[in-house]
Amino acid sequence: MSERALVDRMTCVLCPVGCELEVGKDAAGELQVKGHQCDKGLPFAVEEVLHPMRNLATSVPIRGTAARMVSVRLSRPVPREMLFPILKEIAKLRPEAPVRRGQLLIADVLGTGADVIATRTVA
């Protein structure tokens, strides 16, 4: 999952135009992007190929209330290869009600700079 060929096709998701991007490598080993109609497409494609960033959402059991689970997510996207290590950290959480939406549950999880926050209020 972490290793992928450095040649990729993707649809740019930054706006509804949805340019179809092709990322290739030239003779010098430089990444070349084709198909973008604006200058946002190039950094998007390069990031998606070199170090794709993803958010992560899940839910964890909560104690002290009728609701069984509280949903959580990251405050911002992290490198994709960090998703499973972060899931292991989240699995250790056993928050107790009440929890407020936006409440900090893990600060700077695994040094990624992203926080794990609650996404719903459980009274």
């Binding site: 999952m1 993803r54 899940t58 839910s59 059991p61 689970m69 949903s71 939406r101 719903r120 209020t121």
Partner: protein, 415 residues
């Protein structure tokens, strides 16, 4: 003794993203008494189990999860003098806007000045797509699996196969991967994915989950529990190709094979439904064929983005408030039909002479470098033309006509 009849200006049926917005829209447009009926114990509808990110980009200008999106709308509703009734099931709706409700206070009758339908949709099941085989445990619609995993902390199996590439199925593929469930593959009968491309990439490709197009499940095996499914390729007529069968061992099968607007109440009220959307036929004010009854969100047509369901809700709520206050649209309607490559266009009716109407539409198959035209059926006048580099059936699109429309029109997609 006759049962007392309560009254309200606007009654909203359903407390999901469309209904919450409709209640707010009605209040903001000046409706006095607004009642919001929700049959579950909590407001928010399906958003509560959609813990993934990606909601709110259009309504809140940032990307948040389903529960956050719901809570923000619920907080807005709570700030208004809107009467929220949860645990209240609307049993019947008549054409003169009488609601029969089984509520926490018992059985009640409520006469509404206007009604907004926001009941959402439900998932198609195994029975509706007629998969042969045994009837073991382990077969779930994708949404019910999502509920079990995200809200009830239950494990639905160890090895899963997903039939259908709708967005909920794609989201669940990733969710199951997170939970350590081996997802053996997603099988889609059509030659293209029915979910959003972003979800194909971020939910399947990221986790090396195979997506097999033009293939389907032709048999379910297992006595007490699913033991395997048989998949086969299909031909151009979507019929399984003999000899292409393959047995895939698994203990869970998820179905993500489409959503159906939940219009039982609409039928009871005698509302005209569209065979193309499965929802009500509406005019540009989102009013159905029954005066004073409006429709929005997934009960009207299936949305791919919750924000659009909410925007429709705001509009329907506002129109309902204006109807309850006595405003009536001018009579005389033109009909709008779906032309080449258009699955449906909505609204299906427009007040004659109305300008600035916006249509939602979907295409029947992926299309490239096309133009969408709204053409007069009598005069051949093109009222609007918009070019699209690409159109997918999974993406609801919009097109607006500036000028007044005075004849029946057809929405078509031309290469």
């Amino acid at each position: 003794m006759a049962r007392p009849v309560e009254s309200c200006d606007v009654a909203v049926i359903g407390g999901g993203p469309a209904g919450l917005a409709a209640a707010l829209g009605a209040r903001r447009a000046g409706a006095g008494t607004v009642i919001l009926f929700e049959r579950e114990r909590t407001l928010g509808g399906i958003l509560n189990q959609c813990v993934h990110d990606g909601f709110g980009l259009f309504l809140y200008k940032e990307t948040i999860s389903g529960p956050e999106y719901a809570e923000r709308l619920i907080e807005d509703v709570t700030r208004e003098p809107i009467k929220v009734e949860t645990g209240a099931m609307v049993l019947d709706l008549t054409s003169d806007r009488l609601l029969r409700v089984n509520s926490r206070q018992g059985y009640r009758l409520i006469r509404a000045g206007a009604v907004v339908l926001a009941m959402g949709c439900r998932e198609r099941t195994r029975e509706m797509i007629e998969i042969p085989g045994t009837r073991p445990a382990g077969i779930f619609t994708a949404g019910s699996a999502q509920n079990l995993v995200n809200l009830q902390n239950l494990r639905i199996g160890n090895e899963a196969v997903i039939l259908g590439s709708g967005d909920i199925g794609l989201i669940m593929a990733r969710r199951l991967a997170f939970e350590g469930v081996a997802v053996k593959g997603v099988f889609e009968i059509l030659p293209w994915a029915s979910g959003l491309e972003r979800n194909v990439r971020q939910c399947l490709m990221d986790f090396a989950i195979p997506l097999e197009l033009e293939s389907t499940v032709v048999e379910i095996r297992g006595r007490d529990r699913v033991e395997s499914v048989v998949v086969a390729r299909v031909d151009g007529a979507l019929a399984p190709v003999a000899g292409s069968e393959r047995v895939i061992p698994c203990d869970a099968l998820l179905l993500s094979v489409g959503l159906i607007p939940e219009n039982e109440l609409s039928k009871r009220a005698g509302i005209e439904l569209s065979p193309l959307t499965g929802g009500a036929v509406v005019d540009e004010t989102l009013m159905t064929s029954v005066e004073g009854v409006f429709s929005c969100g997934n009960v009207l047509h299936i949305h791919d983005v919750a924000d659009w369901a909410s925007f429709e809700g705001f509009a329907a709520g506002e129109r309902a408030a204006r109807f309850a206050a006595g405003e009536r649209a001018a009579s005389g309607t033109v009909r709008v039909s779906a032309g080449p490559h258009i699955k449906y266009a909505l609204p299906q009716l427009v007040t004659a002479g109305k300008a600035g109407v916006e249509w939602s539409f979907r295409v029947t198959r992926p299309m490239r470098n096309v133009r969408i035209e709204l053409k007069g059926r009598t005069s051949g006048t093109v009222y609007a033309r918009r070019k699209f580099a690409r159109l997918f059936p999974s993406e609801l699109q919009k097109v607006r006509v500036r000028e007044a429309i005075k004849e029946d029109i057809e929405v078509g997609c031309h290469e």
